[in-house]
């Protein structure tokens, strides 16, 4: 990490061009943006969209994924639709949502969810298909309720799949959110980046990127890693 910073500093001072600012310029811009409140405001707007669309697509995706994984007929019926939605370009759904529902917040969120949902469904469906039949039989034999089976038998087996969907989901969602904001919102990271692009302000672009990557890293460290550790404590 330090070597990378040193390399960056060296190359940037050597080139001496505004399109490649030095790390300390970026840090200064970052600091100023933080103090002025601009960065926290736009970052917050993006994070809020991220949380809402992530929560919606994960909970819906898990529910639908489990149902499709457990029900062959429904799965066969929806399989083609799933493939279709998996492969529609994000830009197309975003544009269509804005055209059909107007340039409003719910259209933005909806566009993100539509892009992420099929991924979650497919991942969770694979996980559900791989469930241990022996344990399900045991649960049935000992008259586990539906809730008990879900919490104690099914969910722990889906955990690696859910974590996979979470990690790839966060990465995918925030990239899509930027496009959504760029096309039709007047706040958020995407909007800001668009502005900086028009001004050729590379230092600000890098400052915002660093801030966002930092937040995602923090999330991984504070939420995801401990969650992994807690739910895998039974492994040898």
């Amino acid at each position: 990490m330090l070597a990378f910073l040193a390399l960056w500093q060296g190359v940037a001072s050597y080139v001496d061009n505004t399109t490649l600012p030095t790390p300390d310029t970026v840090m200064r811009v970052f600091w100023q943006a933080c103090i002025s409140g601009q960065l926290p405001y736009h970052l917050g707007a993006t994070l809020l969209r991220l949380i809402v669309s992530f929560a919606v697509s994960m909970s819906l995706g898990c529910a639908i994924g489990i149902i499709l994984g457990r029900n062959k007929k429904l799965d066969a019926f929806f399989d083609n639709w799933l493939i279709l939605f998996l492969n529609v370009p994000a830009l197309v759904t975003i544009i269509l949502c804005y055209v059909w529902f107007g340039l409003v917040e719910s259209a933005a969120i909806f566009a993100v969810v539509i892009n992420k949902l099929p991924n979650v469904i497919v991942t969770i469906r694979e996980g559900t298909r791989a469930l241990d039949q022996d344990l399900l039989e045991m649960a049935r034999c000992y008259h586990f309720s539906k809730r008990k089976t879900l919490v104690h038998v099914i969910w722990p087996q889906l955990h690696p799949f859910v974590m996979g969907a979470t990690r790839s989901g966060l990465a995918l969602i925030w990239k899509i959110i930027l496009v959504v904001e760029l096309l039709g919102r007047s706040n958020g990271m995407g909007y800001q980046l668009h502005l900086f692009f028009q001004l050729f302000d590379v230092a600000s672009i890098l400052a915002y990127t660093i801030a966002f990557v930092g937040v995602i890293q923090l999330l991984e460290l504070i939420v995801l890693k401990p969650l992994d550790k807690k739910s895998l404590r039974w492994r040898r």
Partner: protein, 242 residues
């Protein structure tokens, strides 16, 4: 009480024309201890799955007790089938219904000498220990019917004997109908009221033989060995199973 009437005319697996079970008739009196003996792969596990309601794709009838009440079934599978992400104690707690007191867990853990591992995860246990936990789990539900699929395989001899004795003790304290699958004839003689010999493909009953040894004489190796050789002489048609 819970007597069992089995009459399966045909059970085959999808895609296989040859039936696994063909015309099998068997009835158990309430509280009876019956051992099923047969070559491995002859369909004994399939029969237990049908009884447990896990497999319903057969033609025929299975009556468990009276029609009004659903009997509680304890099923000890061939492999322990513990939830690896729950501790030993949680695994047992999960099968109890809300009205049941968890005291039974302590009593059974103590009887099996497994109290000290109750907060371990199953992956840390030996197979023998996991088997004993699975046995505890089946007893904990206070079953009306107990299905056991070779539960003592891979237990070392002293442990197996100890668990067998515990099984008999629990069965005598609170009688329930037991169907016990094994291919160890000596074990079957030491446990059962009645031996049922099964043939392979399709599985059906070859002969049913009552064990005439009194309960208090069952740990006498001589009596068991004597009965075993007597079986060999008197029943030539089950010779391959002995």
């Amino acid at each position: 009480m819970t007597d069992i009437q089995i009459s399966i005319t045909n059970k085959s697996y999808w895609g296989h024309s040859a039936p696994v079970i063909g015309n099998l008739k068997l009835s158990l009196k309430s509280g009876e201890f019956v051992c099923l003996l047969g070559q491995s792969g002859c369909g004994k596990t399939t029969l237990l799955n049908c009884l447990a309601g896990l497999d319903t794709a057969y033609t025929g009838d299975i009556m468990l007790g009276s029609q009004h009440t659903k009997p509680k079934i304890g099923y000890i599978f061939q492999n322990p089938r513990l939830l690896p992400w729950r501790t030993v104690r949680e695994n047992i707690e999960l099968v109890l219904d809300q009205r049941q007191s968890p005291d039974i867990i302590d009593i059974l853990l103590d009887a099996m000498q497994l109290t000290e591992v109750q907060h371990f995860y199953p992956e840390r246990l030996s197979l023998g220990m996991s088997r004993r936990i699975a046995i505890i789990r089946a007893f904990a539900v206070n079953p009306d019917i107990l299905l056991m699929d070779e539960p003592f395989v891979s237990l070392d001899a002293p442990t197996a004997r100890q668990v067998r004795e515990l099984l008999l003790k629990l069965w005598q304290e609170r009688p329930h109908t037991v169907l016990f699958v094994t291919h160890d004839l000596r074990e079957a003689i030491s446990l059962a009221d009645r031996l049922v010999f099964l043939s392979a493909s399709p599985m059906r009953v070859v002969s049913e033989i009552d064990v005439p040894i009194a309960r208090n004489g069952r740990h006498n190796e001589m009596l068991i060995e004597g009965f075993r050789s007597q079986l060999k002489d008197n029943y030539p048609d089950i010779k391959t199973l002995l």
